[in-house]
């Protein structure tokens, strides 16, 4: 059974199901360009379970990052600590992403449409926005040049919208072959993982189609959480629930991250140092 509240014994949250389902998409040995937040949790869960040899790339320039705790930002020190290499930011985009050396990009988003275009820029008009969101970051070029893209985000009618306020990163544009005409290296978003299920683009129209439901969720729920008339596969599958191992590793990762953050007394230590330097 799933629950929106905290985990009970033998149960798991919808957020945990989403993270686990996303982590399973990462095959061992591949090069994965990781966005912060949910994508980073999923990628690190994969590395700690079935994909120990995947190469995690962060836009801060870390290649082959092996963080022991989850990074808070895209450029935490733990990412550089045990990385295979650390390169300047222009290189990560020009030499690594733009050349097709990245197998899969893991992205989150504020809004997505039926052709998996994503918006992280504004809600409302650009000139007079209702909500100003952070903006593009590395996403437009990840969406363009990673061989494939996975999007991870909770499914709600406010996020899965009929029309995006702004296209920050291109999915399949207007569907069909409109993306192909752009001549990008990458195939585009091949899978969208939500807290309710899994969506994949139709091979022809490229419209997102609900192919799998997580245990305990229904087609009705997915339809209600989608701002357009959601296409559903004829016989949608059911995601395997998280295994004990997956849950144990994910929770351990989160607990260790929290404990490490709580233990830190950055300012105390820094002041000891600066006061000593003064004397």
């Amino acid at each position: 059974m799933s629950s929106h509240d905290g985990p009970q014994e033998g149960s798991y949250t919808t957020n945990e199901m989403m993270t686990v389902a996303a982590s399973r998409q990462l095959r061992d040995g591949i090069v994965c360009f990781v966005g912060i937040g949910l994508p980073s949790q999923a990628a690190n869960l994969a590395r700690a379970t079935h994909a120990p040899n995947c190469v995690l790339v962060y836009e801060s320039g870390t290649i082959g990052a092996k963080p022991e705790v989850l990074p808070h930002s895209i450029g935490d020190g733990v990412l550089a600590e045990h990385a295979d290499s650390v390169v300047p930011v222009p290189e990560i985009f020009a030499y690594w992403l733009q050349t097709g050396r990245v197998d899969i990009g893991f992205l989150g988003a504020a809004q997505i449409d039926r052709f998996a275009n994503i918006n992280t820029t504004v809600i409302g008009s650009y000139e007079d926005p209702k909500v100003r969101l952070p903006g593009a970051g590395g996403a437009p070029e990840i969406a363009a040049s990673a061989k494939e893209v996975m999007v991870v985000m909770p499914q709600t009618a406010r996020a899965f919208v009929e029309e995006l306020a702004f296209v920050t990163s291109a999915g399949y544009l207007d569907g069909g072959d409109t993306r192909e005409q752009l001549g990008y290296l990458g195939a585009g978003p091949t899978v969208v993982i939500t807290d309710l299920g899994i969506l994949k683009p139709d091979p022809e129209t490229k419209e997102l189609t609900l192919t799998d439901l997580h245990p305990g969720t229904s087609v009705e729920q997915a339809r209600e959480a989608t701002g357009w008339d959601l296409r559903v596969a004829d016989d949608p599958g059911t995601t395997d629930p998280p295994t004990e191992e997956e849950l144990r590793v994910l929770r351990d990762l989160r607990e260790r991250t929290e404990a490490a953050n709580e233990e830190m007394r950055v300012l105390d230590d820094l002041l000891d140092r600066t006061r000593a330097a003064k004397e």
Binding site: G77, G135, P140, L267
Partner: protein, 286 residues
């Protein structure tokens, strides 16, 4: 030798009202001490350039230092919104903020072009997105050799670049290591440069992934231990994630923000006093 001066003097000499200023550091080595000094000296009408505005520009924008921002991702990393940035864009407080918005790849290419004395850079990007519709510094270009369509973005040539690094040596060579971000390109693209460092050492030692900025590329160096706090300096102190969390309610409210800046930045002489001042407040909360 004479490059190593005080931060107050470095800012006073190098940064003028109306300048285009880039304070860089990708999550790591963000030059907070230098930004505070710019705020204390009440610089106005700056065009601020930075890939990830972070708390450093949230503070400068909220204090009215800037009328334009050139950027690619304006959030509080790992937390959410930059509320002062949002208030400026959404409500024009404390003054309207013109935006010139790019992607990370575009910004990185622009710095490289600036550092290379080229008028523009080309990249495979932006096509199919709405960014070219709102940003007039993105334009299509045809390759003269293959006929391929690419995107062009103009070079960034800041009046002043400001970065923080771990070390300098007495002749003014600067070493930074860990995540090296866009600092080298920023320094080399700018007309003038200020570097704050954790310490001056007799001789720079090798470190993994280290970059050394030769002294000829640097105009002024100021020693400011802890000068990147609450971001971090690899091998010196870690990122204070708790501060980034705590900033959310401070930045969210205009009065709370102004009070905080008044007390901890304008009301302090320098960054060492600033750190003592926020420590005092933290202790009183414990």
């Amino acid at each position: 030798m004479d490059k190593i001066i005080g931060l107050r003097e470095a800012v006073a000499e190098s940064i003028n009202d109306g300048d285009t200023v880039a304070l860089e550091g990708f999550t790591h080595l963000i030059p907070f001490a230098a930004a505070h000094e710019i705020i204390r000296q009440e610089r106005k009408d700056l065009t601020l350039i930075r890939m990830t505005p972070d708390l450093i520009y949230d503070q400068m924008i909220g204090m009215g230092c800037a009328d334009k921002l050139i950027f690619s991702w304006g959030g509080n990393p790992g937390v959410g919104s930059l509320h002062r940035f949002r208030d400026a864009v959404e409500n024009g407080w404390p003054q309207p903020l013109e935006l010139e918005e790019h992607s990370h790849a575009g910004m990185a290419s622009r710095y490289v072009a600036g550092a290379s004395n080229l008028p523009f850079a080309v990249l495979r990007g932006y096509v199919g997105t709405d960014l070219p519709k709102v940003t007039d510094t993105i334009a299509p270009i045809t390759c003269p050799f293959t006929g391929e369509e690419l995107m062009a973005v103009p070079a960034l040539r800041p009046d002043v670049a400001v970065v923080h690094a771990q070390q300098a040596d007495p002749s003014g060579n600067v070493a930074l290591w860990g995540i090296v971000g866009i600092q080298r390109e920023t320094i080399l693209s700018a007309r003038r440069s200020i570097v704050t460092v954790e310490e001056v050492v007799d001789e720079l030692a090798p470190h993994p992934h280290q970059i050394v900025l030769p002294s000829v590329a640097v105009d002024a160096i100021a020693v400011v231990p802890g000068g990147a706090y609450p971001s971090y300096a690899h091998d010196y102190y870690p990122r204070d994630n708790a501060f980034y969390e705590a900033w959310d309610p401070i930045g969210r409210d205009r009065e709370t923000f102004s009070g905080w800046m008044e007390r901890h930045v304008l009301g302090t002489e320098d960054f060492a006093e600033h750190l003592e001042s926020i420590m005092e407040e933290e202790v009183s909360r414990r």
